[in-house]
């Protein structure tokens, strides 16, 4: 435990299964002459009470103070009474749904409002149930050629799809992530720069999640700041 982290060493333990019946692990082996002795991997622990609870309390307190200041300084929005006969222009959902609303601008509701969120939730749920995500090998460390080919096909397909529907807002993050993936394919654990070594070690799930995070942020920011009347494009600094 005390040895310094080496670079080629992985960040995690694989194959730790919670199912004791399937993968039994020997804890101790007791022979007749020796008494049982547990060789536990010790590491420095602190008592939850009071130290951890105290820290948690301080963290929550700091947050509360921050929120209280925000609540004192900024008033929550309140517009006129609800009027079904007049739609404000633009009508915007809460900010965390503006990414969704931005997609609703491009795709029919059944795709953007139902299919995509459902797929996202399913994708999030299944992450820990795939061994490829558990082992988390660098994406291009094995089968580099064939994986690179798949990567190209997916990249071209997605770019064409997004261009066809004029979703340039989502196209830009896609292209940037793909560029980094190609850079990762050209990198290896022996690369000179630490950044490229880092890229080379990233697994498939990392790339998908990063793309998702990137799209989420970009679509939400665009929906929040760059959309004006009639959901047309506006520049927030040009009032």
């Amino acid at each position: 435990m005390t040895d310094p982290p080496s670079k080629d060493k992985k960040d995690f333990v694989t194959g730790v299964d919670s199912n004791a019946r399937k993968s039994p692990r020997r804890v101790v082996f007791v022979t007749r002459r020796t008494s049982a002795q547990v060789k536990a991997v010790d590491e420095d622990q602190v008592q939850t009470f009071p130290e951890v609870l105290f820290r948690a309390l301080v963290a929550i307190e700091v947050l509360s103070i921050l929120l209280v200041w925000i609540a004192l300084l900024f008033n929550a929005p309140l517009e006129g009474v609800a009027d079904p006969s007049h739609t404000p222009n633009p009508a915007k959902a809460p900010w965390y749904f503006l990414g969704l609303q931005e997609m609703l601008h491009y795709f029919p509701p059944v795709v953007a409002g139902v299919l995509v969120p459902t797929l996202v939730i399913i994708a999030l749920i299944v992450i820990p149930y795939f061994n490829i995500n558990i082992e988390a090998e660098g994406l291009f460390l094995q089968d580099r050629q064939s994986r690179l080919r798949i990567c190209y096909v997916v990249a071209v397909a997605m770019s064409l799809f997004l261009t066809y529907f004029h979703v340039y807002v989502a196209l830009v993050p896609t292209l940037i992530v793909i560029a980094f993936m190609l850079l990762a394919a050209q990198s290896s654990p022996q690369s000179a720069s630490p950044f490229r070594r880092y890229l080379a070690a990233q697994p498939l799930s990392y790339w998908i999640m990063t793309w998702f995070l990137f799209e989420l942020v970009v679509l939400t920011v665009v929906g929040t700041f760059f959309r004006g009347p009639g959901w047309s494009w506006v520049w927030p600094w040009r009032n």
Binding site: H86, T87, N89, A91, L104, H105, P109
Partner: protein
């Protein structure tokens, strides 16, 4: 309770023994009860009386609409349009996500403020994410000579009402 040893009899493959019978009876009645609960829950959650405005709208005298005019009645959410061919009514709620559209007289189009759908005066979509054109609504002239529109009844387009 004394410990009972449950041993299936050799011929138990075919006939139902008592334990299986009660298990099946229990599960069966539970699933019937669950199905019944679902139906009752659904019925309970759907209100039987709605305090919503009537779908049939009296739009007033036909001669109050000049020719080539588009009038949005915001309270009922319909357009009454007097075209050269006659009168017709369109639902004003965008077919995309139900925002109330507005008539842009300077462009001669109907535009939705929410997601940027645009429609022609006859309801056909010009651009935007709306999946369907704006619906034509059943329109007729009442015995008193008023224009009537049924908001719940969509009809095929291009059925003008002549007065």
């Amino acid at each position: 309770m004394p410990e009972e040893k449950y041993e299936p009899k050799p011929e138990a493959g075919k006939e139902l023994n008592r334990r299986d019978f009660f298990l099946k009876l229990g599960l069966g009645s539970l699933s019937i009860a669950a199905a019944g609960t679902t139906v009752f829950a659904y019925q309970f959650l759907s209100p039987n009386v709605l305090f919503e405005p009537s779908p049939i709208v009296n739009a007033g005298r036909p001669d109050s609409y000049p020719i080539d005019s588009v009038t949005l009645d915001v309270n009922s959410g319909i357009y009454l349009i007097h075209a050269k061919e006659g009168f017709f009514a369109l639902g004003a709620a965008c077919t995309h996500l139900g925002c109330l559209t507005v008539w842009k007289p300077e462009l001669g189009i109907i535009a939705c403020p929410c997601h940027g759908s645009k429609f022609k005066r006859e309801g056909e979509k010009i651009e935007g994410p709306a999946p369907k054109p704006l619906p034509w609504l059943r329109t007729w002239v009442s015995d008193e000579g008023d224009l009537m529109v049924d908001r719940s009844a969509a009809i095929r387009p291009m059925q003008f009402v002549r007065v």
